[in-house]
Symmetry: C2
Subunit: 213 residues, 2 copies
C-alpha cells in the first residue's frame, strides 16, 4: 500500500464525506459513485478511483454503504478524534473563526487563543480566554494544541509560524496574506480570500471561462 495521495484527491474525499453525512442524516443506505459525483462536481470514475486508492469499499452492482463509507472516510481523514486547535490573532477574521460553530461541530475545537492587544488579552471570547502571545509556547503545550490557525497581520505571520512549530504544533492553517512555507516538517496551508477573488477577476477579465468551478 502507501501510495502518495494528491491534494486534490484529499479535497474531494472531504466533499464526499460532507455529502455522505447529509445522506446518513436523511437515512439513505446506499449511494452510487454517480450520485456522489453529481453533488461534488467530480465524475463517477474519479469517485471510484479516489476511493479505490484506499481499498475496496463498494458492493458491485449496488453502490457504497453510506454508514460504512462515512466512517471509513472519517478514519482516512483523521476525523475520528476531535482536533485541539489554537488560534493566533483575534482580530476580525480570528474572532469570526472563534465564533464559527461549524468548526467544533465538524471536529475542530478551538482550545486556545492568542493576541498582542492588551485590551483583548484576558478577555473570554466565545468560551476561550485570550492569552498573551508571549505565552504561546507554554499555553500550546498546556492545552495540547495540535493544529494552529494563524490570523495575524502578514508581517507577524512567519515568526508566529516558527514559534508554533517550535512549540510542537503539528500543522498550520494560515489566513495571513503572505506565503508561509512548511516550517521544518510542519505542513502549512494558506487561505487567502483576495487570491480567490483575483482568480475570479482573471476569468471576468477575459481569461478562458470554460474550466472553473
Amino acid at each position: 500500500m502507501s501510495v502518495r495521495i494528491s491534494d486534490s484527491t484529499v479535497r474531494r474525499l472531504s466533499l464526499y464525506l460532507r455529502m455522505l453525512r447529509d445522506l446518513r442524516r436523511q437515512g439513505a443506505e446506499l449511494v452510487s459513485s454517480r450520485e456522489l459525483a453529481e453533488r461534488t462536481g467530480a465524475t463517477s470514475a474519479q469517485v471510484r478511483k479516489d476511493l479505490s486508492l484506499f481499498g475496496s469499499f463498494g458492493k458491485r452492482g449496488r453502490g457504497y454503504a453510506v454508514g460504512d463509507l462515512t466512517t471509513t472516510l472519517e478514519d482516512i481523514l483523521g476525523l475520528s478524534h476531535t482536533w485541539r486547535v489554537g488560534l493566533v490573532g483575534v482580530g476580525k477574521i480570528g474572532a469570526a473563526l472563534l465564533g464559527y460553530r461549524d468548526l467544533a461541530r465538524r471536529g475542530f475545537e478551538v482550545v486556545a487563543a492568542f493576541d498582542v492587544e492588551p485590551d483583548k488579552i484576558g478577555r473570554e471570547m466565545f468560551g476561550v480566554r485570550v492569552a498573551p502571545l508571549a505565552d504561546l509556547a507554554r499555553v500550546v503545550r498546556e492545552e495540547r494544541v495540535e493544529i494552529a490557525i494563524v490570523a495575524t497581520p502578514p508581517e507577524a505571520a512567519a515568526d508566529v509560524a516558527e514559534r508554533l512549530a517550535a512549540a510542537g504544533v503539528g500543522a498550520i492553517l494560515n489566513f495571513a496574506p503572505t506565503e508561509i512555507h512548511r516550517v521544518g516538517d510542519v505542513p502549512v496551508r494558506t487561505v487567502d480570500v483576495v487570491l480567490e477573488l483575483e482568480g475570479l477577476s482573471y476569468l471576468l477579465a477575459g481569461g478562458r471561462r470554460d474550466d472553473v468551478d
Copy 2:
C-alpha cells in the same frame, strides 16, 4: 494568444503579483525568476513558464523589470479596475469580510450587503447599508455589482447563487460549506475553512508517508 491557463498558474500569478508589489514599494527595479520563485514556493522554471504563457516580459541576462511586470500582471488578472462586490449574508464571516480592509486595498470594493435578519437590515456596517435579501436583484443592478460573495447558511446558498446569477453578477465566491456548481456561465469558487483543516488532519493522521515504501 488564448491558450488555456490552468487554475494553478493563475493562483501563482497572484502570488507573483503580491511579491512584485512589495518589491516595488521597496524600490527594487529588477527581479529574477529565481527570486520570485523563492518567496512564492514555486521553481524558477515554473515562474518563467507561467509568464511566458502570456508573452516575453523579461530581459535575458538581467531579469524582469519590477514596475512593468507588476502592471502587466495586474492587466492579465483584471486588476487595473476596482471590482464592485456584493456581499450576501452579514453573519460572523460576512461581517468580518465587510470589515476587512485588504479587500478594498487590493481592488475589491464591497458596495452592497444583504441579509434576512430584520435587526441587521437598514443598519450601516463598515460604510455599507445592509439591504433586505428580497431587494437583491434591484440593488445588484443599481450598484452594478460584478462579483458576489455568498456568506449565508449552507441551505440558502444555492438559491442565493441562482438569484445572483439571474441578476447579472459575473462571478461568485462561496463561503457557505456547500458545493455550488457553476450557475449558467457564472463561475463559482468555494472557500471552506473546514475543508482546509481536514486536509491538514489527513496529513497528521498519517497520510503523509512521504516516500516510505
